[in-house]
């Protein structure tokens, strides 16, 4: 019955998707120069890691954790975006879905890098030291190294395993135009959202907050989720606009898409600021000696301008620039704001991870590693985008969302 109805719809409406299917190249052709540039950046990053391991191992491990977590969070943001669209039954974003799908490919790649880092450098976390005694028995049990590594592996495997069916169903629908894929994706999405909500909270506690094991902030997981989704939206905006400039999205990406993405970026950036302030204000107000040192450390000396820049990049600039609806529709404005937001996310993670090292990391190694990670992630994006048609041409939501009362 369903397929029949779908088929009728398909025949009745002059689907844009059919046109797209013909006009679009089935796979993305990355411009060779860009590809070479990305590979050059990767080589530079590799050189940075090797040089850093010899001269500045502390810099390498801090930036390794920062950049791989950055990658994992972009992958999570892509999957989260797809899952949210499926669960809410949104039709507006279907044409762009291949972009977050490509972002989801970062999950296994950056996840593996993160796990390797966690295994290689136990001394990165102060609680692995023999003379460290946690305040509570519960914390001692939780921060056991084998348990910690097992948890990390479970998070990464769970996320990758739940992102995979979403991508596979989407691909198969391209071939058979079967409605059942949408239904299945919706169920996987709901499951992913539940798993994600719990694991991102625990993962950010494990990987970032336990850098300072005596410090506690209960809003830390939500705060990380806000930053993660904001950066993911910024990446998505950059990729879709790049694809439009390159050609494949020229007839697909409209001003309305940009407007909606811009609104989401605006909202999530403000959500991030809200949580940033919740965390800061409560700790400032209570002035508890177990909590306040976290901020005292970050508000002194050279950290202070970075601390302020964090709020400016992540919220003040996106908020002020994207306040008008014209700005949310303007590709150049969106690209610039997205770049600012990504820099802000990097700085946010830098402030979460680095101050425990008591000093600035060696700049050259840090820059080389950051460029290397950028190159790697770009190659992963292109790889993900090149695997299927750039528009999910047979998605029933592409042209007309199913009518009210239609049983899905």
């Amino acid at each position: 019955m369903r397929e029949q109805r779908l088929q009728e719809e398909w025949d009745r409406t002059p689907l844009l998707s059919r046109k797209c299917g013909q006009e679009l190249s089935p796979v993305l052709q990355t411009p060779p120069r860009l590809h070479a540039l990305a590979k050059g950046m990767m080589a530079l990053g590799l050189g940075g890691v090797v040089a850093g391991l010899i001269w500045a191992p502390e810099t390498v491990r801090a930036h390794w954790l920062l950049l791989s977590f950055f990658g994992v969070s972009l992958g999570l943001a892509g999957t989260l975006f797809i899952a949210l669209q499926f669960v809410t039954g949104a039709g507006w974003s279907v044409a762009l879905r291949r972009v977050p799908e490509a972002m989801a490919w970062l999950l296994p790649v950056a996840g593996a890098a993160l796990l390797a880092g966690l295994i290689a450098w136990p001394e990165f976390y102060p609680w692995t030291a023999d003379d460290y005694y946690p305040h509570s028995e519960w914390k001692r049990l939780w921060l056991q190294r084998p348990f910690f590594l097992a948890r990390a592996a479970i998070y990464v495997v769970l996320w990758s395993a739940l992102a995979l069916p979403l991508i596979l169903h989407s691909r198969r629908q391209d071939d058979d135009a079967n409605f059942s894929h949408t239904v299945a994706s919706r169920r996987w999405s709901a499951l992913f959202l539940i798993v994600f909500g719990i694991t991102i909270w625990l993962a950010s506690y494990d990987w970032l907050m336990s850098r300072d094991p005596d410090w506690v902030s209960t809003v830390y997981g939500v705060y990380n989720f806000a930053g993660l989704f904001t950066a993911g939206l910024a990446t998505q905006i950059l990729l879709v606009i790049w694809l439009r400039r390159l050609g494949p999205f020229r007839n697909v990406l409209t001003e309305k898409h940009l407007h909606d993405l811009g609104k989401l970026l605006f909202a999530m950036s403000t959500f991030w600021a809200y949580l940033w302030y919740c965390q800061y204000m409560l700790i400032w107000y209570v002035n508890n000696p177990e909590e306040t040192p976290y901020y005292i450390q970050r508000l002194q000396g050279a950290w202070q301008p970075l601390f302020i820049a964090n709020v400016v990049l992540n919220w003040v600039i996106p908020f002020c620039v994207l306040l008008s609806s014209a700005a949310k529709r303007h590709p150049k404005v969106l690209v610039n704001v997205s770049l600012v937001v990504l820099a802000g996310r990097w700085l946010d993670l830098y402030l979460m991870i680095l101050p425990e090292e008591n000093g600035f990391a060696t700049v050259v190694v840090a820059v080389a590693m950051t460029l290397g990670a950028l190159g790697l992630y770009f190659v992963v994006f292109c790889h993900g985008l090149a695997q299927a048609a750039l528009v999910p041409i047979n998605d029933p939501y592409l042209m007309a969302p199913p009518k009210r009362g239609q049983d899905l």
Binding site: K256, Y277, M281, W284, Y285, L323
Partner: protein, 373 residues
């Protein structure tokens, strides 16, 4: 002035959007569209200008933030400064949550009332939609029969081609008064509101002006914790305030086991020594200040007993430069300051224990400088 209206009724938002777009293409003057829920893209299909309500929203929000921040600054730092945990009075991080809430409140209400005002909506207004089905499952497009749409047949044809289930021509007379039968409804709201205000006033404004009116949230006024000087049935002696356990000593209040007798004064001279460091400039300054405030009126600036009080007929106190005072030990002086001697009363209540020792430091300094020449 009356106008002719052409009304097309559709069953899907898609048909309505397409019909609206086509009508605009042909230049038909669209009066309005009626839908049961907000339709995405309809404002563009109708060719409406972007709403200016967002500017009202921004303005109200800015006013909210500004007023709330300024008000809190005034209450917390200017009008009634309160020390909260040693923070500065104008601690803006503490003001932000309230400013945020006031911003949301003003922006929300401001934009709703601006919308109601612009659309001339108010409680009890008679519905002026084309048909009640537009609040349920039908979509209506209204076109005025003038200009390009004078040819009504063509317009109705266009409606038909977009799957309209019903097309009709309607004459609307704008000068006609609203049907009086519906007018009384709005008075329901006015009368109901007046009645509510009257009842509320009657309840809150009590007849006895000496007693407080109705208390909202009495837990806030009468806390579960006992008042310091209140009564409490379950505590010993029926009072909240309890006497300390025997042997308890308050901080900094070590008891002095001396009587107000010359014999005990001598004993104090033997037993007590000045705990303060005489070379510490801070204690010297403190001693000088306490001396100037408390002792100088009788003893005089140089300690010779020539203060302004004794110049007005009160018997002057002995000079510090006299033999007796020079030989007196620190502990005995402390006893004199604490319990008094001859005409001098006890200063234990006015001058703290620490300050008494600091004054003794100053006295010794006066003795040194006074004896030298």
């Amino acid at each position: 002035m009356s106008r002719r209206l052409l009304v097309g009724t559709f069953t899907t938002e898609h048909d309505l959007l397409e019909a609206a777009r086509a009508s605009r293409e042909y230049g038909y003057p669209i009066v309005d569209a009626y839908t049961p829920y907000p339709v995405h893209g309809l404002d563009e299909a109708l060719g409406l200008k972007p709403s200016r309500l967002s500017r009202v929203c921004l303005l109200c929000g800015l006013i909210g933030v500004g007023v709330a921040m300024a008000f809190q600054q005034w209450t917390s730092a200017i009008d009634w400064p309160i020390n909260v945990g040693g923070r500065p009075f104008n601690s803006w991080p503490a003001f932000v949550p309230v400013a945020f809430e006031v911003m949301v409140l003003l922006a929300g209400f401001g934009v709703v009332f601006a919308f109601l005002g612009v659309s001339r909506l108010y409680p009890g207004k008679a519905a002026d939609g084309p048909a009640s089905a537009v609040t349920d499952d039908e979509f209506v497009l209204m076109i005025e029969a003038r200009g390009a749409a004078t040819d009504t047949e063509a317009v109705l044809q266009l409606f038909q081609s977009h799957h309209a289930i019903c097309t009709e021509e309607d004459d609307e007379d704008e000068t006609a008064p609203e049907p009086p039968a519906r007018n009384w409804r709005r008075w329901n709201w006015v009368l109901g509101g007046l009645l509510a205000v009257t009842v509320l006033m009657n309840w809150t404004l009590g007849s006895d002006p000496s007693r407080p009116n109705a208390e909202f949230l009495p837990e806030m006024v009468r806390g579960v914790a006992g008042e310091s000087f209140g009564v409490h049935a379950e505590l010993p002696r029926g009072m909240v305030m309890q006497t300390p356990e025997p042997g308890v000593i308050a901080r900094g209040q070590m008891p002095l086991h001396y009587q107000a007798t010359p014999k005990d004064a001598e004993r104090a001279g033997e037993e007590l020594t000045n705990p303060l460091d005489g070379n510490d400039a801070r204690w010297q300054a403190r001693g000088a200040a306490v001396y100037a405030n408390t002792c100088q009126v009788c003893h005089g600036a140089s300690g010779k007993g020539d203060g302004p009080v004794s110049q007005r007929g009160i018997p002057p106190p002995p000079s510090y430069l006299a033999e007796k005072a020079l030989k007196m030990k620190d502990g005995q002086m402390f006893h004199v300051l604490t319990f008094g001697q001859v005409n001098m009363a006890s200063y234990a209540a006015q001058v703290s224990r620490e300050d008494r020792w600091a004054v003794i430091l100053h006295l010794r300094k006066l003795q040194k400088t006074g004896a030298a020449p």
